[in-house]
Every structure is written in C-alpha cells, then in structure tokens.
Symmetry: C2
Subunit: 350 residues, 2 copies
Amino acid sequence: MKKKITISDIARELNTTASTVSRALSDDSRISKAKKKLVWKKVSELQYQPNSIASALRKGKSNVIGVIVPTSDRQFFASFIRGIEEIVREEGYRLIICQSDEQYDKECTSIDSLLNIRVDGIIASVAKNTVDFSHFKKIESQGVPLVLFDRVIETMNVNLVYSDDYYGAYRAVSHLIEQGCRRIAHFAGKQHIHIYQNRLKGYLQAIRDHHLPVDDELIIETDLIHDTYSILEIGKVLAKKLSEMPERPDAIFSSSDFAAMGALQFFKENNIAVPDEMALVGYSNDFSSSVIEPSLTTLDQHTSHMGNEAARHFLYQIITKPEYFKPRKTLLKPELVIRNSSLRRNVIPT
Amino acid sequence: MKKKITISDIARELNTTASTVSRALSDDSRISKAKKKLVWKKVSELQYQPNSIASALRKGKSNVIGVIVPTSDRQFFASFIRGIEEIVREEGYRLIICQSDEQYDKECTSIDSLLNIRVDGIIASVAKNTVDFSHFKKIESQGVPLVLFDRVIETMNVNLVYSDDYYGAYRAVSHLIEQGCRRIAHFAGKQHIHIYQNRLKGYLQAIRDHHLPVDDELIIETDLIHDTYSILEIGKVLAKKLSEMPERPDAIFSSSDFAAMGALQFFKENNIAVPDEMALVGYSNDFSSSVIEPSLTTLDQHTSHMGNEAARHFLYQIITKPEYFKPRKTLLKPELVIRNSSLRRNVIPT
DNA sequence: ACCGCTTGTGCAATCGTTTGCGCAATACGG
DNA sequence: CCGTATTGCGCAAACGATTGCACAAGCGGT
C-alpha cells in the first residue's frame, strides 16, 4: 500500500499549514492568488487526491445520493437512474444504487446502510410487497431528503415523481374503443400497488364514458412483477383463458408489456388475428415491444425524464431551508405509442 | 436537522467511555457480556446509527466497491451488476455505480471520484473509445484492487473476467454451416475493441476450418455501440446492402443482437425468407431476441455469472497479502441459444 | 505479604479536512 | 503619527469511531 499524500504534506512542503492549503483549494477569498498558484502546482506535482471521506466527516455531507430500485435490470429503472445521473453529476453528486429485489427486508437494510454512510438524500421506488412504511419514515425523521418515484406512497408528505397511470390507461382504452373494440379485457396488476389501481380506474372510467358495459370477468388481477420470461408465460395463460370464453373479448389492455407480448404470442400460435380479432395494448414501451410482430401499442412513461425530475426535487430540497420547504409532487403524462397490435386497417382515423 | 446520536452519547448515558462502547459493538472479547448487553440495549433505545464515514476514515476502509459501466441501461450491464451485488452484499459491501456513457473523459472523472471517496476496489468495463489506459494504471498504483470485465485491457496485469468471444463466434458460424449456409456475412464491431476482434477471428477460423472461402466483402466493420434503436437502423441498412449483392449471402453472423434484428426486419419487409434464404445469428441474448419473429439465434454470455466471478476476484484480492497476490483471469464460454432465425427445417440434426 | 496473571475499562492519539477566531502586516484617511 | 480597515495566514478544535497502551481490580500461587 502506497502512502496516500494529504493536505498537510502539501502544507509542509510549502512551509505553510493545512488550513491555508485547504482554503486555497476551496478558492477562499482570503488566500492570495500567488499562494493559490503555489498550492495548485504542488497538488499536481504530488498527485494529491483529496480524501472525501475526511471531508464528508467534517462537513457532514457526503455528496452521495442513494437510489433504491426494486431491480436495475428493467429498462424502466435503468433509464430512470440515467435520468437522475444526468442532472446531479454536474452538481458533484454521485449515485449509490441499491436493489431491493422486491423484498421488504432488503429494502430495510438498504435504507439502513444508506443512512449509515450518511448519504445526502435518497431516491426510491418501493418494493412490491412493502406495506409498512416505517423505514421510509425513518429517513424523513433523520432529516434526509427523500424522493419517491413511480411506486410512491401517497400518504407520505415527501417529494413525489410519478406517472399519471389513470390517464395512461384511460388513453389506451379510449384508443381501443376508437378502433372499434367493444369487449376489452384488462390484465390488472395487484391492487395494493397504487399504479395498478389507477390503471384499473382509468380503464373503468374509459369504458363507462363510452357507454360500454363493464364485465368483471374481463378484469384479471394477477402479479405482474416477476422476471420477464415468467410474465410472458402468465400472459400466455391468461390469453388462453380469455380465448376460451363463450363471448370472447376483442381487445386486451395489459398493465405490463410482457404479459401483452405473451398474449400476443399465444394468439399468433392459435391463429387469432391481431389486431383484427384481438387488439392489444401494453404498458411501459419496453424495447422489445417495438420488435415483436405485430409491434405492440404501449404507453411510454418517459422514464429518464422522471429521473430528471426526481433529481431536481432533491436538489431543490437541498437548497431550501427546512422551515420553508414544502414537498413537491410531479405527475407526468405517459404517451400512447400506437403500433400495429391495435391499429385496425379498416378504421378511419378521427 | 435532528442531532444525530453518537457512540459517545451512548457512553455518557452508561457512565462509560466511547472506547468501551465501540469495542462492545464490535464484539471485542475484552468486554464483559453484561456490558455488551447494556450497550446494545441503549443502542436500540436511542436508535443509534453508526457513522460509517467516521469509521471509514479511521479504518481506511469504506466497504464500498466502485463499478464503472459504459451504460447501465443495457441488459448486459444491468445483470452483470446484479451478479456482483449477489456476491458482495453478504460481505457487507455496497456498490457505487458510475456510467461512463462510452466517453473517455467521463471514465477519467469517474475513476477520480471513486478514488476520492476511497472505495475498496473498482470493477470496470472500458468505454469504447478509450485507448489510453493511464487512468486505470492510477487505480493500480494507489493499491486499489481492480477487476476488468468484458471489454478488458489484456496487457494490464489485473484481474480479468471476460467471455470467450472467439469461441462464441466460432460456435455460431459452425452452427450456420451445419445448417447448410455457405456464404456467411459478418457484422463486425470496430476492431480496436478486443471483443469484436476476437469474434471476427472466430468467424474466420470457422469458415476456414470448414473449407469455405473467405470473402472480405462479406465482412462489414461498423460501430455497434449506440442506443438500441440506432443499431436497429444500422442493421437494416447493412441488410439492404447485402441483399443487393450480385451473389447474395445466405446467412449473417452479427456481433450485435440489435443489428441482427434490424436486418431481420429488413428481410421480412422485403420478402426474403428467414432462415431459409437468409439465416441469422446475433450476439448477447437480449430479451427482445426471443420475442422477435422469427426468434433470433444468439449467444448468451451468462452475464450475471460474469458479475459473480468479478466479485469473487475482488474478494480474493482483498484477503490476499499484496506480496502473495497474483491477478486471476476468468474466461467464460458463451452458450449458443438456437432459435428459429437459423434453424432450417430440412436439415437433419447431427 | 508479594508476585504475576487475567479480565475489564479508560486515556488519548489518530484518520484528513474544515472552520471560527485571532493575530500580524500593510494600507489608508485624517 | 495614530487609529481603523483590509488582507493574508496560522492555531487549534472540531467531525465520530477506532485502537495501542496503561492501569486497576481480582485471583491464585508461593
């Protein structure tokens, strides 16, 4: 192990003290230009690397933001993280990324470690089974800025960034109705998760607004959070179930791209024409939805934009005095990306 | 800001000193069981959160590993990161993830910040344009353990984890030949990157070993590192070029799944039958390659396994005395995942 | 009664930076 | 020539946990 050189080493060589060097490095106005030059010269000469640990300890600020995601290998979360990074990197913040793997206890330990290393803030999306929020309350109570995104906890008074799932679903279903669909099924996610609840609400409202009957049989609640290949399978199974109904539906709005794609594969294998006999809309605009045949209509949530917003919320909270601070909530509208799985050729666009 | 409670607060309440508390918490044998109980009780009573910054400063160890990836929104890197995490989390290490965005200068600053915060090690894949390696040398010279993966620098004497690209390519091309293909084109990546170089070598060797002619016209070198949608386009353009050749090739081995998929889309649009007129093999086994129609044959690199290995290399180096330490190199064999894009029906499997 | 040993605890320095405060030197106005 | 700014820098105390060393008390053996 080579001995690391410190601020005092520099000071010694320059016949001055650590304080002066420190101030010179932080461009303090009380240090003369000449001295600063000298210091900078020595710094590069000795290849000095500041020790941010020491600095963090003294300043009580680590310049690190903790990010907790259920999993980082979904495009959704990956591009969200990229979105955060884009914004905070120029302010000198680094990210430390924890995966909860959708498990409550990993979520807890992640939060603990992040607090231990004294992150300056935490940006998180809650795991699918989390119903107790005391660990998030702890973050607040320690005075650490918190931003929740996507799977948020609406009852907590913190910064929020989420997508307007109600709108997205409403938009998707209205689109299907415009295409002439009259019996629209819905692959709904587990209803204790807000986003899935809102998508179901949007679905219902759209149906009602267009004076169509709501059929509970067509609403299938299932766990849409798994690895991609499993959800694909789930989609196939559900598609089979729907196709065997006496009065077969003519469209599906799925809360997951992958379930929609699984369904699509089933229909192709069983010669049910998509979109003409069965139109499909997914959710999230995963890359794969653009290459599957027919390509899948879906909702793009502009995830990296969500990341940007989350980052900005954090930065805003940092510069605001606690007594003046009020949490901010951003609700972003998803965009319907219309592709072939829902585009019937004999329909005249309105 | 609520005042954080420290080890000395605990000590004061217990009429003892910080040293005793510290030792009690680290389960030092010199502290009596009784005292330890008392300490633990107070700890939970006061909701004490250890300050790892202070600890890191004193111990010269942060329990953080820096990971540098070109981009985290590729499945490849995401699952690699997951692979690392799996192994190191139980040893108490956290990950801090930096994206170089394939840019040399971001790579440099990432390394600098990681060294500043005194990470215990760095696991990195080099950016596509990096040709000067002094920043990686710096990591070594500071005595910080380094593991390079996938896009490695073979001339550096550090831990390496990479995939046997030569083997993968050889395997892919042999498979195409077994399927009856005789004029096989190759979408090659830029040749200053080792992995693409090795894939080209594997391609060439397989052709030669099967006594087929090598046609330079069929080898197209192009930049395969971009966002997915752009590579898709590149694939289409190249496919067009190939399809217009007087002697049209009957197969493509692409160093990128996305380029292969782009080509596939072009062939479908232009009624060139895949795999019968044109067989296709991609590289990486991205999820989308399984849903495109026909599904794409490709090479799976077992990325999360690569992550496991990288993590183990790091842990090994950590526990080994520098004077006994020798870098370890792991070369993993990719697996050919045979799907419909290359599977000709009239071929009897051998 | 004395010595040595074990067991449990405290003292104080240390990790590398930052920062409030004080002090000298110079400048400037009257 | 004195008083008051202004400029430039050093002293020393933090930040919170860790750790080498000393030391005290208790015990047993001679």
